[in-house]
């Protein structure tokens, strides 16, 4: 399995000392070897979760679509466009959109602008910690094709190579109205049952991982972040 092949050429150079194997002495004097990656983190691959029967799924998708819980994670400059959503002028709450502070409880991940490699690592981790079903909105040109950072040495060009994206919002930067429109279009997608990014991610897990690992040279985290 490719994700097992965690060693690129620079493994030694980018060693994360926190993930080194180490030996500790237990209270009764035994030596215990700790392999942080194995012992601290669950690394199992994500599973594809079959939708429920059609009628029920339709109802559930409606419920999901009408209560979108957004992870408050600002990745790039677009994150400044998100807070206005909760203000009286735009008031996303009336569309069933709410902000959540933790990935565990969120269903929508807005990648708000360019993603440097460093941020990508955190974004992947947060994305993987969200529960199925989960949706991604790519905000701004940068997530589509790199935007004004298209030739930067450190910024990714296409978000959909690293995680399944449901909606892109073009613009540099898109205004909050555009984001609201994105929510509406996402809702439509969900209700139609087409927003199945989490399962897509699980199905094409190896491909996504390979892409991720191609740009993240110092891969120092579990292959899947539960």
């Amino acid at each position: 399995m490719e994700s097992q092949n965690n060693n690129n050429n620079n493994q030694e150079k980018f060693r994360d000392p926190n993930l080194d194997k180490r030996t500790v002495i237990s209270p009764d004097g035994q030596q215990i070897e700790v392999d942080p990656l194995q012992d601290y983190f669950e690394q199992a691959r994500p599973q594809v979760h079959k939708p429920a029967s059609k009628v029920i799924e339709k109802f559930l998708n409606w419920a999901r679509a009408e209560s979108l819980w957004v992870l408050g994670f600002g990745t790039g400059c677009g994150s400044i466009e998100i807070p206005p959503l909760t203000t009286p002028r735009f008031d996303a709450y009336r569309f069933g959109v709410a902000m959540r502070p933790t990935p565990r409880q969120s269903s929508v991940f807005i990648i708000s602008g360019y993603l440097s490699v460093k941020t990508l690592k955190r974004a992947i981790r947060s994305y993987e910690q969200m529960q199925n079903p989960k949706y991604v909105i790519g905000l701004g040109s940068c997530t589509i094709n790199g935007g004004m950072y298209w030739d930067s040495y450190n910024t990714i060009n296409r978000l959909d190579y690293y995680m399944p994206v449901d909606n892109y919002v073009a613009g540099c930067m898109p205004r909050p109205e555009a984001i609201l429109a994105a929510f509406e279009s996402l809702k439509k997608r969900i209700k139609e049952g087409r927003a199945d990014g989490a399962n897509k991610y699980a199905e094409h897990f190896d491909w996504y991982k390979a892409n991720q690992k191609k740009v993240i040279k110092d891969w120092n985290m579990p292959d899947y972040n539960w």
């Binding site: 040495y153 450190n154 060009n157 190579y161 110092d218």
Partner: protein, 181 residues
């Protein structure tokens, strides 16, 4: 020490080899010094001339001349005067004496320079650890021989169909299509 910046420079000249003294403004002077004398000069400035504040350290890549130009900017907080000491170092195996013992924060600048330009500062704390790039394995990205566009195309899956236009031409064509005619 009620000296003006000119007097300071005069007194410095008697001790160090200063070249290309250029007074940009009343309170800003650029001076080029030799690599070997730089650290002792900085020390002197800090201890005797009251230039106690280290503003920043930056670098210019003169690839044509085969040198890096390091600029150490010092500030005299009482007289509000800045002096910039420039220092040329070889581009090949670039290395410079570390100044972190004078001001702690210099170490951070030096880490950045090492990561972005590959200039080594032996002895500087944590200088070889990655600074803002996590897992960079190519030549330092800010060196001018590094082709960032090619790197990006090779690495980041460029989306086909993207067009790049020269902004000036594009805007001209868009706004004044008839200007040339």
């Amino acid at each position: 020490m009620n000296t003006t910046i000119e007097e300071t420079l005069t007194s410095l000249e008697s001790r160090f080899e200063l070249k290309d003294i250029k007074q940009q403004r009343g309170d800003l002077v650029f001076v080029t010094v030799k690599k070997e004398q730089l650290i002792s000069l900085l020390t002197h400035m800090r201890d005797n001339e009251n230039f106690t504040h280290f503003v920043m350290l930056s670098v210019v890549d003169w690839i044509e001349d085969g040198v890096f130009q390091l600029s150490y900017i010092l500030n005299n907080p009482e007289k509000h005067v800045d002096i910039v000491f420039r220092c040329m170092i070889e581009r090949e195996n670039a290395s410079m004496e570390s100044a972190h013992h004078l001001w702690k924060q210099v170490a951070t600048y030096q880490r950045e320079l090492y990561e972005m330009y590959g200039i080594d500062f032996p002895g500087s704390p944590r200088v070889h650890e990655s600074f803002i790039l996590e897992g960079w394995d190519d030549i330092p990205p800010m060196r001018r021989e590094f082709d960032t566009k090619k790197y990006s195309e090779d690495t980041y899956f460029p989306r086909p169909g993207r067009e790049s236009k020269d902004p000036k031409e594009h805007m001209k064509n868009k706004l004044y299509p008839d200007a040339d005619k």
